[in-house]
């Protein structure tokens, strides 16, 4: 008799595990569920927005100036290619580094090696 019981017990245990697995899987599945975004209501949205936008505009201006400054540095195309070839880095990185070194290729190489 006990022999007969054992497999039945095992089975129920397996079922339990399966059930557990299933609920785990369901929980995981929920992570990717689609959710409608909730709308905010009340509060002074206008003022808040204004404060943020002002700050943001200042920041954009600052960045444009920085980029302008960097772009003003004259760089040699051959130097860029030398850096790319010797250090196996992408063009954008080579250019930026060369500009930051004010176009001095030896300095740019030294900077890149030293980090």
């Amino acid at each position: 008799m006990p022999q007969k019981e054992a497999p039945a017990d095992e089975e129920s245990q397996q079922k339990k595990i399966a059930k557990h697995d299933a609920s785990n899987a369901a929980d995981l599945e929920k992570v990717t569920d689609f959710h409608e975004e909730q709308e905010l209501s009340g509060g002074d949205l206008e003022t808040a927005l204004k404060a943020i936008t002002e700050k943001r505009n200042k920041e954009v201006q600052k960045r444009v100036e920085h980029l302008k400054k960097l772009a003003a540095v004259k760089i040699n195309k051959e130097d860029v290619e030398l850096i790319m070839r010797e250090l196996e880095i992408p063009r954008l990185k080579a250019e930026t580094c060369l500009r930051q070194a004010y176009g001095d290729v030896v300095q740019a190489l030294l900077d890149l090696i030293d980090n």
Binding site: L40, D44, L49, R56, E59, L87, V106, I113
Partner: protein, 856 residues
């Protein structure tokens, strides 16, 4: 909907239903609806419906059909944002992120303000860590939907990730003002804590404190709040307040190390004895706490250390704490500690035998000990002697322990470890097999046993061992890969590479690499989920973890094997399969050939069967991931091995720059690609970490001799000249002088002698006998340290592989081996009979074994 292909009202309603079905994951219903529209011949080529049908098919894992439909859709309505969006989603599900971004951008060209597309784009940008791009997209979303919570939080996060703390805080502040909740709200509590974290990171501690006081009632994670407040008090040097808080924290949890360190800072304790006194105070207050007893051992020495460690060990032995030695191991860095621990252990051993006490009669500790104390002391003692290199004593003690308690599995594990340390893997495996047989239900021992088998290159046996615990009906190899069991795969790779099975080794390395790809991929869903749940502190933690996940030792180990294997394949490329076989066969006798043929036939049959099985499986479950399989034969014949090696190297350079091996491996690669500046970069980085590393010397000498032979001009030459002089501390040296100086400076170290010998022979092949003389550690009275078994094994390998040229004097090799054997009597490789390879029973036996174990 699409202006190019408008649908009439009825069909349009159906199309909207399709979108709904997709969002709610009712893919099959969606397909039915799509059929409704497409079956009308007038709309059979309706682009957006075709695209949506493709997307639904993709969700049902019918990839080929999916691509076909989406492409057809795009062709018929190329101006539709839906078609491009769907195309992007498809690419993204195939992990082609760059292509997906391009598709989204095209979609935005059709409709620049489409919220869902912008959202999907932002997800890809954060996944790819295009932080500037993420910020721009988030800003766009913010201006389009200022009424949504996600817009505010997302934008704030994008600023935080770019270290613009001020803007991030401003955004959250404004958002909280609008939201204006006063009742219990856990999400708001998390948001407030996240804001505090940002301000803390910006270093404005005064403000953190002010805000904490102001919002204390709204924050429900009290522990985090307390921890942060205590930390802030420390930074602001408000020590009395900090002390009060750390007292509370320690009372909450007396097992948290960080709290004690905080307390030391709060009390401004600098001297070690004060710290020890403080910990003692807490030990009295919390007598059951472990940490205030263990920590003082780190910061005491001499007689104080003796009395503390004495008490610590006695408690642990009486109680029976198996990992006692592991717990004490960090203290072995100080030789004085080692001596004290050894004296104590010897005393225990002696007295336990005589009087079952730790101390001789009359002492304080003359308490009668339980019988188990004897075996735990023996266990501690044997590990101690193994650690200091006295294998003989260690084995003696462990035998005594086993005699005392033959059922304690730890003892067999220890014994196996001693054999491993002595270089005898066969012996080690035998011990562990015995241990494993004592308790077959213990997976830890099972795994350990498998690991040792792999170290002994017994691959089939290891797999059979693991199979006792892996899922049935799947091969253990496959199952362990699925479970991302990386220790197993790395050990496999190591074993394969020792057996010169390069393709198999590389396959394992690539599998490990793919686990990391998958771990990184798994972030994706959390970009939306965490934002929605406002669990931002954990989310930031996750992003930062994923950024450095390849810095894990698991990755390092696999990458090292891969790089070394690719270097070897670069130096000695394999012939194609056929030629190799012919060559092999020509050296075999007839009977051997016959055996080989039947073996090959069997192998082929197995492949065929596997293929068939695989096919069946594929039919059975559709959603099996279609990944390009790694083929060992292809892997060991790479088109450009150095490029492959660099692929594994890059993450090491980025994430493990503190490990000198990274840069030494990098040098090995770049010296083969012949890029002087990249070689120089490796040298500089390694030099910064450890200027006198022996292998670095080999690299440096190689570089100097190479640069001397090669006239570098232009900017490259200038950079090399400048950097090299700083590496050689301003002096101009030839490689030869460099080598002799190096040898003089490190005359007592064998590791450095080996490096010097390598360079000597490399520079001048006529100096062979001089180099060989340097390797002979027995004949050199000046060498005091560094003669380890591992190094001797390496030297043996170098000698045998011809790194020092053909050795005319055959006696030399024999003599070297003999002196190693004298020094390391248990190590297999130095035995007179030559290299003992592990006995490899036919794989058929292993499978049979597995069958039996599964039947049981």
């Amino acid at each position: 909907m699409s202006p190019n292909q408008p649908l009439p009202q009825k069909e349009n309603a159906v199309f909207k239903k399709i979108l709904r079905c997709y969002e709610n994951k009712q893919y099959k219903n969606g397909l039915k609806l799509a059929k409704q529209i497409l079956s009308n011949p007038k709309y059979a080529e309706h682009g957006e419906t075709l695209a949506m049908k493709g997307l639904l098919l993709n969700c049902l894992r019918r990839k080929d059909e999916a691509y076909e439909h989406v492409k057809r859709g795009l062709k018929s309505d190329v101006k539709s944002h839906v078609c491009w969006h769907v195309f992007g989603l498809l690419q993204r599900s195939d992990r082609k992120y760059d292509e997906a971004i391009r598709a989204y951008r095209n979609a935005l060209k059709c409709d620049s303000d489409h919220i869902q597309i912008l959202r999907d784009l932002s997800l890809l940008q954060i996944q790819m860590r295009d932080l500037e791009g993420y910020k721009e997209t988030r800003h766009k979303l913010f201006t389009l939907r200022p009424t949504q919570k996600a817009s505010w939080i997302g934008l704030a996060m994008s600023y935080h990730l770019l270290d613009d703390h001020e803007m991030a805080v401003k955004l959250i502040d404004e958002f909280l003002k609008i939201q204006n909740k006063t009742s219990y709200d856990y999400e708001q509590s998390e948001l407030l804590l996240y804001e505090l974290q940002i301000i803390f990171e910006s270093g404005n501690y005064v403000e953190v404190l002010q805000r904490m006081d102001h919002n204390a009632g709204l924050i429900y994670d009290k522990l985090s709040l307390m921890e942060m407040r205590a930390e802030v008090y420390l930074r602001l040097e408000k020590f009395d307040l900090a002390e009060k808080l750390y007292n509370e924290l320690i009372t909450r949890n007396p097992e948290n190390k960080a709290f004690y360190y905080g307390m030391m800072k709060a009390r401004c304790l600098d001297k070690d004895e004060d710290k020890v006194a403080m910990l003692e105070e807490f030990s009295k207050k919390f007598p059951r706490a472990q940490i205030p007893r263990r920590l003082p051992l780190n910061m005491s020495s001499g007689e104080t250390f003796r009395s503390l460690v004495d008490d610590y060990m006695r408690r642990a032995i009486t109680k029976g704490v198996p990992p006692l030695f592991v717990d004490l191991k960090p203290l072995y860095a100080d030789p004085q500690n080692v001596k004290i621990i050894e004296e104590l252990i010897e005393m225990y051993l002696q007295n336990l035998v005589i009087s079952s006490t730790f101390e001789s009669a009359g002492g304080d500790g003359a308490e009668l000990q339980p019988v188990t104390s004897v075996v735990w002391t023996l266990y501690l003692a044997c590990q101690h002697f193994d650690h200091i290199g006295d294998t003989k004593r260690a084995l003696e003690l462990v035998e005594r322990a086993i005699e005392h308690t033959p059922t304690l599995i730890e003892l067999y594990l220890a014994k196996a470890k001693f054999y491993k340390h002595a270089g005898n893997m066969i012996g080690a495996v035998q011990c562990l097999d015995e241990a494993q047989a004592l308790d077959t239900a213990d997976r830890y021992i099972n795994s350990k046993c498998a690991k040792y088998m792999l170290k002994a290159k017994l691959l089939d046996e290891a797999e059979a061992m693991c199979a006792k615990f892996t899922r049935e009906n799947v091969s253990a190899m496959e199952n362990l890969n699925e479970m991302q069991c990386m220790w197993f795969q790395t050990e496999c790779a190591n074993a394969y590479s020792k057996l010169n099975r390069y393709g198999d080794a590389l396959k394992k390395c690539h599998e490990v690499d793919r686990h990391f790809v998958e771990i990184i991929e798994d972030q994706f869903d959390f970009h939306t989920y965490c934002m929605r749940k406002t669990t931002l502190r954990s989310y930031i933690g996750l992003l930062r973890l994923e950024d450095v996940v390849r810095g894990h030792p698991f990755y390092f180990k696999a990458a090292r094997i891969a790089i070394k294997t690719y270097l070897r394949l670069h130096d000695h490329p394999l012939n194609d399969k056929k030629a190799e076989q012919d060559q092999l066969e020509s050296t075999l006798s007839k009977s051997e050939l016959k055996k080989l043929r039947s073996k090959q036939k069997k192998a082929q049959e197995k492949v065929r069967q596997d293929e068939k099985e695989n096919k069946d499986k594929k039919v059975a479950n559709d959603d099996e991931k279609l990944e390009d399989t790694l083929n060992p034969e292809k892997l060991e014949r790479p088109e450009n091995p150095l490029e492959e090696a660099i692929r594994f190297l890059k993450p090491l350079q980025e994430l493990s720059p503190k490990n000198i091996e990274t840069h030494l491996l990098a040098y090995e690669i770049y010296m083969r690609t012949g890029k002087p500046l990249l070689m120089l970069q490796c040298l500089k980085r390694a030099h910064r970490l450890q200027p006198d590393h022996p292998q670095l010397h080999v690299c440096l000498a190689h570089f100097v001799s190479k640069v001397a032979n090669q006239d570098l001009t232009g900017p490259v030459g200038a950079v090399v000249e400048k950097q090299l002089s700083s590496l050689l501390s301003g002096k101009q040296k030839s490689a030869k002088d460099l080598n002799s100086d190096f040898l003089q400076q490190h005359r007592d170290s064998y590791a450095h002698a080996v490096a010097a010998a390598t360079v000597l022979y490399e520079l001048d092949k006529t100096k062979q006998s001089e180099a060989l003389k340097l390797l002979n550690f027995e004949a050199d009275p000046l060498i005091k340290h560094g003669v380890t078994r591992e190094r001797c094994e390496e030297v043996m390998e170098l000698l045998e592989s011809g790194a020092f040229g053909a050795i005319g004097d055959a006696e030399y090799l024999k003599a070297f081996k003999n002196s190693c054997a004298r020094r390391f009597p248990l190590a297999e490789v130095f035995q007179a009979t030559g290299v003992i390879s592990a006995p490899r029973p036919a794989s058929a036996d292993a499978t049979a074994d597995r069958q039996i174990s599964q039947d049981v």
